[in-house]
């Protein structure tokens, strides 16, 4: 498979405290103070590849940097370090403000969590879907109407609902509007940020099936961000597990959920409620995550919450190492790897 998007050593840091604005910076300079503010390492040295037609899941708890990673790679915010390549094009160098009008803007589109909140409340469903087409495709008049109606049909949104405002639509219909406006400009990569989090299970199923059908029909790649692991398992080929700005594990979705290697993934998988099988492995994480503000580069980010946590974990940051088709960032990954099955 050919790589559609490849990300290398991507970092996104946010300065905190003391004011990050121009005036605050100028004041600090005049005062002769330190130029470096403490920084939140939201995304720290992240590398991965999304192949054409692949669905990659991104999981992790709130505050782990999922959203920062997504906002950085969709180029809604500027990159602190590293590269983002879409096909042959390097995207990381253009400022976000310039990229908004770039011809490649249409190639990466995003579906936000709740279309009720992410769609302009004064836009009808038609306007919401038409907006990217007007801006990026310069479509007008009949051609615009035709394209909007085509994608609405593709997303199963009845045409008579196109004149409605977001608050007049049900949760499932809003989700369809969110998806329709993202696929209207025929992107190569669709980034889905918890598209079903606000929906009831019965509607969730319909939307997940819609996404799967659209992917087959249109040949897009998906980056599916979610903290619902049972949904990720159903939809994704491969999964990335993120913890405090770093990828701690990756691999085929089925394998990762069956045999999680990193202790964090193990805790994550153990915490998912199961319909059958009760409360089997009671692996629980105690305490709060470490601070993401200027973390010690020599200490494993999971140290302190990790049930394993040994001395080597606070003297050397474990690197993401490859084991066959999987990767894990833990000193003790070998011990957690699934053993070859012995037939008894």
């Amino acid at each position: 498979m050919t790589a559609l998007l490849s990300i290398e050593h991507l970092a996104k840091l946010f300065p905190v405290g003391g004011g990050a604005g121009t005036i605050a910076r100028l004041k600090r300079r005049l005062a002769g103070g330190a130029q470096t503010l403490p920084k939140v390492h939201a995304v720290d040295d992240v590398s991965f590849v999304i192949a054409k037609g692949e669905t990659v899941g991104l999981v992790g708890e709130s505050g782990c940097g999922k959203s920062s990673l997504v906002r950085t790679l969709t180029r809604l915010v500027d990159v602190s370090d590293g590269s983002i390549r879409l096909g042959n094009r390097e995207l990381s160098l253009k400022p976000a403000r310039v990229f908004a009008r770039d011809r490649d803007r249409a190639r990466i589109q995003m579906v936000f969590q709740d279309a009720g909140e992410s769609v302009n409340p004064r836009f009808t469903a038609f306007d919401a879907i038409a907006d990217p087409l007007r801006r990026l495709r310069k479509l007008r008049g009949g051609a615009l109407r035709e394209r909007v109606e085509t994608v609405a049909d593709q997303c199963g949104l009845p045409r008579q609902l196109l004149t409605r405002f977001p608050h007049q639509l049900s949760g499932g219909q809003r989700a369809r509007v969110g998806i329709a406006r993202a696929i209207a400009v025929e992107p190569d990569l669709l980034v889905l940020d918890e598209p079903t989090a606000a929906l009831d299970v019965s509607v969730q199923v319909v939307i997940l099936k819609l996404l799967q059908r659209l992917k087959r029909e249109l040949g897009m790649s998906y980056l599916f961000v979610s903290h619902d692991l049972s949904v990720v398992r159903l939809l994704c080929d491969r999964v990335l597990v993120m913890y405090l700005g770093k990828i701690v594990e990756s691999g085929p979705a089925a394998a990762v959920f069956e045999h999680p290697v990193h202790p964090y993934t193990q805790a994550l998988v153990a915490a998912v409620p199961r319909l059958h099988g009760g409360d089997g492995a009671r692996l629980r994480l105690s305490g709060e995550p470490r601070s993401p503000i200027d973390p010690d580069p020599q200490v494993c980010r999971f140290y302190g919450r990790c049930p394993r946590g040994e001395d080597s974990c606070k003297t050397a940051m474990p690197a993401l190492r490859r084991f066959g088709d999987r990767e894990a960032a833990c000193h003790f990954a070998e011990g957690f790897l699934p053993q070859p099955k012995v037939v008894s």
Partner: protein, 338 residues
Amino acid sequence: MTTAPALLVEDLSVEFRTRAGIVRALDRVGFRVGRGETIALVGESGSGKSVTAYAVMGILDPAGRVTAGRAMLGGLDLLNAKPSALAEVRGREIAMIFQNPRTALNPIRPVGRQIADVLIRHGNVPRREAPAQAVEMLRAVGITDPARRAKAYPFEMSGGMCQRVMIAIALAAKPSLLIADEPTTGLDVTTQAVIMDLIGELAAQMGMATIFITHDLALAGQRSARIVVMHAGHVVENAPTAELFAHPRHPYTAELIAATPDSAANLDQLAAIPGALPDLRRVDLPPCRYVERCPRKLAACAAPLPQPAPDTSHFVACWNPLPIGPETTTEACTVSAA
């Protein structure tokens, strides 16, 4: 059940008067919770789970009105009690954990003070000793450095910590009944597991009955002995958890289980539930509010729904329920009609 239940809800009906008409949000809802028992109210949004809890607590929106029914807590009918009697019980005998801890907590009062308030009002704790006990409560719900955290405001804490504070407030007066309304919505799965463990442990320690409200069938199954499935203001099925999953009788329950992502190996096996909730403002609502979505409907479905007999262990509000299995006769699974 031989002993008196911690809470017995019968025939609870609630209406909301809105500009667009009367919404019949609950219709003859009934269930019981034994002492020390944990049950779950499960259903999709709009099914009436939270309204049930609010009605029992007496904190319905002013537009809402209880039109019938009773909710017996010991000898007291919560639905017809005087406000003063209700105020005595609420917080002391019956406590609630709300859905969003950040908005349910007082934003301009340190969390330790908020716990102390409950201790003073409902826990018979002298004013002077309350702050120290509040710190102990925070320690009991697993907050590290509780003395410092007691002085913190809700906005200074993470969602998981706020939820722990909510739990501490709810449990401060050692109630005999706890209603937890989606206590882990918006929390991460790892935090969810820890919070649910905590509620379970404390409930077991204090012999507290728990009503756990959730839309997550898998979570409900893991955490409760009995599940009450609600749909459009009706209790459609009420059964012990294992039995409900093994032999769902109501078509809606079966479809809800089949729509839960965990139940399928791949997306194609997952089944959607056709149709939508009926508009509860309609004057011509059928007796069974599921009938218009139901694949098993009969002519008999136009009759009023069966009501639970006093000792039914597995109640299903359906005239044509799914069969349990080959060994059971149809006679045994027919629910006695009231």
